[in-house]
């Protein structure tokens, strides 16, 4: 089954075409990596998929339904979760509350005005389960703003998992993390394989080739190739355009 189908997505900023008729399909349970040099338009693509930037042309289908014109919160409620290139958490909230809020978003109305939210056991239990999955259960009570960079990345993934998404967009989840943390997050992403569809943007080529089922190469807003990691590694066009520049 196709979780995400991108069809002819096009976006220009002035004269600059940042997305040029991008098309690809993501099957359920697969990790689809998008790689490409800096400025290729990867983050702009993620923004269009998540809904914070509207494309000029083309369509985005999620589980067969057109979501091209849906705003960000509506897409999230349909099961689309994302991490941010620059981590976006609620720094003044506890780690647990960051995740509990994501559970709250999909469990009943939030227009409840008197009962204390922090005392809702169902929310907290599910939040703890997500934190356990990413290995942050031990620091659930800390203020999220005091976490290390890598821990914040893990927290973002815990928040995303708490949404029980069917589609997850990861925008450079390994960027800026130490070797140890990167390995841990890599294992975490690998453990999600088969459970939901993941679009992964990442600069760490070793991680990409280890994790991805399929890889698309984005250069100057165009997808120049899509295929399995082996196919991409052997593609001469890709080597010339991109992989040749870095030494992968």
């Amino acid at each position: 089954m196709t979780v995400l189908s991108v069809q002819g997505l096009t976006k220009s900023f002035g004269a600059l075409k940042v997305s040029d008729a991008i098309s690809f399909d993501l099957r359920a349970g697969e990790i689809h990596a998008i790689i490409g040099p800096n400025g290729a338009g990867k983050t702009t693509l993620i923004h269009q998929l998540s809904g914070s930037i509207r494309p000029d042309a083309g369509r985005i289908l999620m589980e067969g339904r057109d979501i091209t014109r849906l705003p960000v919160p509506a897409r999230a409620r349909r099961g689309l979760a994302r991490s941010f290139q620059i981590t976006a958490i609620l720094p003044g909230f506890s780690v647990l509350e960051n995740v509990a809020l994501a559970v709250q978003a999909r469990s009943g109305s939030s227009f409840r005005f008197f009962r204390r939210a922090a005392a809702e056991r169902a929310l907290n239990e599910q939040a703890r389960a997500s934190l356990g999955a990413v290995g942050l259960a031990g620091i659930a009570g800390r203020a999220a703003g005091t976490l290390s960079h890598g821990e914040k990345r893990q927290l973002e993934i815990a928040i995303a998992l708490a949404m029980r998404p069917r589609l997850l967009l990861l925008d450079e989840p390994l960027a800026g993390t130490g070797q140890h943390e990167a390995a841990r997050i890599g294992r975490l992403i690998a453990s999600l394989k088969g459970q939901l569809g993941i679009v992964l943007i990442e600069h760490d080529m070793a991680a990409v080739f280890a994790l991805a089922d399929r890889i698309s190469v984005l250069v100057h807003g165009r997808l120049i190739a899509t295929g399995s990691p082996t196919e991409i590694r052997q593609n001469s066009q890709v080597r010339a355009a991109y992989l040749g520049e870095s030494e992968c």
Binding site: S50, S52, P73, E97, F111, R112
Partner: protein
Amino acid sequence: MSARDAVMLALVALLAALPPVLQLLGEPFLTVIVTRALIFAIAALSLDLLLGYGALVSFGHAAFLGIGAYTALILSGRGVTGLELQLPAALAAAGLFALVTGAISLRTRGVHFIMITLAFGQMAYYFASSLSAFGGDDGQALRARSTLFGADVLAGNSGFYYLVLALLALVWLFLRALTRSRFGRVLSGTRENEARMQAIGFSPFPFRLIAYVVAGMIAAMAGVLLANHASFVAPSYMGWGRSGEMIAMVVLGGMGTLTGPVLGAIAFVLAEETLARFTTHWRLFFGAAIVLIVLFTRGGLLGALLRGRK
């Protein structure tokens, strides 16, 4: 019970004991001044919901104070003096005004939101100035103080004082529950990181609008009390300077804490009264004091108090 709650409890206990003590000290007039401070504490509490929990810097909050005050003036002029009618009328008028102006101003953020709330506030001010039947620019004296189910509870200074204190405690409890509810958690979340809240599925707008309406209604309640306190209502109740003073009260006491703005409002009004006795240039010293407190006490007066305790 959190430290903030303990401070509030101690404060309310202290305030409840105040009128007999002031009577003994031969300073009963001070009760009247403290009443004024408590009325502003209610208004500051309502603004804290926007400022401290929603990160919405409204520079037109005094308009709601004015709507409440004018509702009391207009109704009492027509012989409707019961608070049981005046308060619902004031809340309804303020809620409606908040709904319309909030729906427009909450489309904007940051400086634009400040400017547009300021503009709505000034519109309310000039509208009140043009009400010639109600004194226009000069304002008008209240024909009679409000009553409660026919009883003259506001006639005596201490009866009025205790009514205001009770309302203050109720508003504090109400907002404490509200800010800790699911709704309040979403509102605080939008203060922390709007993009994150959208990404997990929340549209901030309806949450902000509800907060704006609730805050406006509570401020209008303070306005009804303020009209009774002065027995007089004028457009100056809703000038932008008054909105600025309320922001100062909230920041001075400690934003987003509820207890802090109560402290801030009391400190503000008492300092204003005290300094004004010593010098006509009191605003100069007062301004300097506020700058120093905000600069050197993180979390305002409440923050300083809680740190000092440890």
